[in-house]
């Protein structure tokens, strides 16, 4: 069986290439980008009706609109507190000094002075970048989304942790939400909740709640059974066991879940600006549109600072409680003293920020953004001027060597040939169930009328993932084998994961021009950190005994990598490939902004042209279907290789 699989794969790919070649250009289902099918125009009409009905239909009057109103109000309260002028006022309730003081204090109280100092410096850095108000807006939006996510996610997570049935019902939704490229669900949400803070909050929640539910239920499920059994044998009710034993025991893991929920919400800050969220996303998107790389970087840095601030302060809170050495009476008193002292300082800070103007509104004089902008612009234009020839050469090479042949194969073959191929792949890599699922989903794309565009996006995703895996596995092996390399690369990987893709979309545009490859390159940059991290962990998890045995047998380093570490980490690498595919797909679609076409462009154009709205919505759904096909095939592959 193990021997047959590669041959089967090779055979079906060969057959596919031959069939595609013979039948090229037939049944490709290509239609003009600006042309509707009866299905897309039907959906478009329904969407238009939905818009018109917003003030009349009961579903809106009694359900959606109140939700929108409530969330809008909630967000507005938080914004008034720190970000925008409160009603009848010219400043927010707490000025910048007050915000710095209170965040510094809370971080100090929940973790340690170093983290507090870091948080304060990061906040001040955002201010110095001239981004104070945007940063506060982003914090307010994140806070609102996180609070609501936790309010829903933690109870659901606990429930799913206690009941297998609930977990079983929730799992497909959780999987789906994690595959869902962010660009996709913006339009439907905006259609129902309109552009603005409410839509942005809900979109952020869809992204962050699944993580919260997953980690919370995991925390409850993986508890040590003995204390729970002890409590039950002593006659505790389920409720008592839950509140007195299980939740306290799971607390630390749940705090980790909060940390991850916060990070998900922060990573959404930029995308949320596409549907009217106030905050740092605004300058980032603006920079893309007016093509000001420097401005993009200034705002991008603020996003990264904000992410570090949120990450360090919440993860420190999670770690803090792990000390098992009880504090001495003296330490205890000192801690209490410093705590009260810093509390008083924080209160004074807030008071000043409400009474003195310089402490209320960030002083305009302190703004280094022009300098940073200039440096970023100069650096970028130097790179563009000097590397353009090479990058274009590379782009053309990849285009002629891989991209064009693959695109022809996928988009110019008859649809049924490609569907058959996808199903065959699913059957060979996965099992019968995967095959049936792949068939149903692929047929759904065919029926949607966007098959041709889906094939363009598929091509870009596959090429992007291929390049990502080549670079990612190489870097992953390197970091997995050396602590020093890992330490050096870590900050770059972390920054790469938090820096919004929109920030480097413009420099990529400069390097590769308005082409498909710009989208692919952006996707690669976005996906590499996560792939490197997973591969690195996989390499590290290979038992030392195996490597020692190989070394003892006289294997060279290369042999150890190719014969021991890679095969042993096969499952992890497959999972990394899956993540790579999903990440590349999520970003390749924003390539619609820079000439990559495909489904992403249809989503974008659907947002701005009423007559193509239906097509845009369907394109979003088709992206999701592609994502699910990838995910299921790769997951099945990983399961079988285990």
């Amino acid at each position: 069986m193990a021997l047959r699989k590669p041959y089967l794969l090779l055979g079906s790919v060969t057959l596919w290439i031959i069939l595609g070649h013979i039948l090229r250009g037939k049944n490709t289902l290509q239609i003009d980008t600006y042309e509707n099918t009866s299905f897309t125009s039907f959906v478009g009409k329904r969407a238009l009706e939905l818009r018109g009905n917003r003030s009349e239909s009961p579903a809106f009057i009694y359900f959606f609109n109140p939700i929108r109103g409530a969330i809008d109000g909630f967000v507005q309260v938080i914004r008034n507190l720190i970000a925008v002028p409160a009603p009848n006022s010219v400043i927010p309730i707490i000025g910048w000094l007050g915000v710095v003081a209170i965040i510094g204090f809370v971080v100090f109280a929940t973790s340690q002075w170093r983290t507090a100092l870091l948080s304060i410096s990061l906040l001040l850095a955002c201010g110095a970048l001239g981004m104070w108000q945007f940063t506060m807006d982003s914090i307010a939006m994140t806070l609102a989304a996180v609070l609501l996510s936790l309010a829903i996610g933690i109870p659901l997570g606990i429930w799913a942790g206690l009941s297998d049935k609930v977990l079983k019902i929730l799992t497909p939704f959780l999987d789906l939400a994690q595959i869902l490229p962010t660009l996709v669900y913006m339009a439907p949400i905006a259609l129902i909740f309109m552009i603005g803070a409410a839509s942005a909050t809900i979109a952020t929640m869809i992204y962050s709640i699944p993580i919260c539910i997953r980690i919370t239920s995991h925390a409850i499920r993986n508890l040590d059974r003995s204390p729970i059994e002890a409590a039950e044998s002593m006659g505790s009710t389920h409720k008592q066991t839950l509140i007195k034993v299980q939740i306290p025991m799971a607390k630390q893991m749940i705090v980790l879940g909060i940390n991850q929920t916060v990070m998900a919400a922060v990573s959404f800050v930029v995308v949320a600006a596409l549907i009217g969220a106030p905050g740092l996303g605004k300058p980032v998107i603006e920079a893309l549109i007016i093509r000001n790389v420097g401005q993009g970087f200034v705002a991008g840095f603020a996003v990264v600072f904000l992410a570090i601030l949120m990450d360090r302060s919440t993860s420190a809170a999670a770690k803090k409680q792990t000390t098992f050495v009880p504090p001495t009476e003296k330490e205890f008193k000192r801690k209490r003293f410093t705590l009260i002292g810093s509390g008083v300082v924080a209160l004074v800070g807030i008071f000043i920020s409400r009474t003195i103007l310089w402490a209320a509104v960030w002083p305009k004089e302190i703004d280094i953004s022009p300098q940073v902008e200039r440096i970023a612009n100069d650096a970028t234009s130097w790179i563009l001027d000097n590397l353009y020839i090479f990058t274009v050469g590379f782009k053309d090479f990849i285009s002629y060597a891989i991209l064009n042949p693959l695109e022809t194969q996928l988009s110019a073959s008859p649809w049924f040939v490609t569907v058959a191929m996808i199903v065959a792949l699913a059957l060979i890599i996965g099992d019968v169930r995967t095959g049936i699922l792949a068939f149903v989903l692929a047929m759904a794309i065919v029926v949607s009328g966007l098959w041709y565009e889906a094939m363009l996006t598929l091509t870009q995703t596959i090429v992007g993932c291929l390049l990502t895996m080549i670079i990612g596995i190489a870097l992953g092996i390197w970091t997995g084998r050396s602590d020093r390399v890992e330490k050096t690369l870590r900050p770059f990987l972390d920054a790469g994961q938090t820096l919004p893709a929109f920030v480097y979309l413009v420099p990529m545009l400069g390097l590769f021009g308005p082409t498909r490859f710009t989208a692919i390159a952006t996707g690669i940059v976005y996906a590499i950190p996560v792939v490197v991290k997973i591969v690195c962990e996989g390499i590290r998890a290979v038992p030392h005994s195996l490597i020692e045995a190989a070394t003892a047998a006289g294997s060279t380093t290369r042999q150890i990598i190719t014969k021991v570490q890679l095969p042993a980490a096969k499952k992890t690498i497959l999972l990394a490939t899956n993540q790579g595919l999903i990440y590349v797909l999520a970003v390749v679609v924003i390539g619609g902004f820079v000439g990559a076409g495909g489904l992403g462009y249809l989503v974008i154009v659907g947002n701005s042209k009423p007559e193509l709205q239906g097509k845009g919505l369907i394109a979003g759904a088709a992206i999701l279907l592609l994502g699910v096909i990838f995910d299921r095939i790769m997951q099945a592959g990983a399961r079988r290789s285990a």
Partner: protein, 320 residues
Amino acid sequence: MKSLFNRRSAVVTVVVSAALILSGCSKSVNDSAGGTSGDCGSWAIAMHAWGGYTASAQVVAEVAKKELGCTITQTTLDEGPTTYDAMEAGTIDVVIEDWGGGRWQEWLDRGAIADAGENGNVGLIGMYVAPWMAAKYPDITDSKNLNKYADLFKTADSGGKGAWFEGPAGYTTIGEKMVSANKLNFKVIFSGSEAALVDGFTKAEANKTPFIGYAWQPWTLFAKIPNLESGHVHFPANDWTDPALASGLTDYPATPLVKLISKNLNDANDPFTSLVKNFKWTNDDQNGVAADLEGGMTAEAAAQKWIDAHADIVAGWLGK
């Protein structure tokens, strides 16, 4: 450990609640800062993120703030339906420049938004080749000769045909029809954003590489590439009043750009309502401000510079 944690959280609770109480009752800066006066209300202007739009919107915002004492919020969002929805929801009050040729009709019909007249700018859309090409191949600007040069425009991405770079997503584009109706041997590539087109034209002109793309005026690119107009490719003129004839053989028609306002603003009869309705300026005016913006000036400064230099026009908008 436990007691430490509890006491610590007690201190935190005390401090945070004290902070909230403090922020509730202490005398705040506002009382001394003295808010802006005047009978103008609080309004939101949509900021569509292209240079020309920013110029117009910022000038209106500055005049409203400084001359009328209005409170103006500027919200960046996508043009078209998303903006009309926001206007219907009451979060946006003004679109200062819309190219849409009636795409707002259904919102207008149900009274969600109102037409505030033309803003004086005239939108001209067309297909342009990089100007160096117009100089080297003088007959290229006639659409009939495009096929002769199609090979020049081939790229790795255009599938053996010439690459034809179409306009940004929200813009009026008929490239696919122009190509098929004129039987052009070109492949339409949807550039997706202004940035992509700027990149394409600038590089093509600098490196003398072939490029044909969508361009419009007023647009600051025409200031950066001064002879871009010479690259205008002319298509057979046609009758735009007849949809069948206008289905793609033609060039784009000139579009007078319009202003749209929310129902609230229209009904309010606020000084800002009349400012927006009166606002009108020329393509040159807008290009001037937009060029300053592009040159690195802040939007406020660029707008103020124009306002200071054109006090008479501003006075006209204010009905003085």
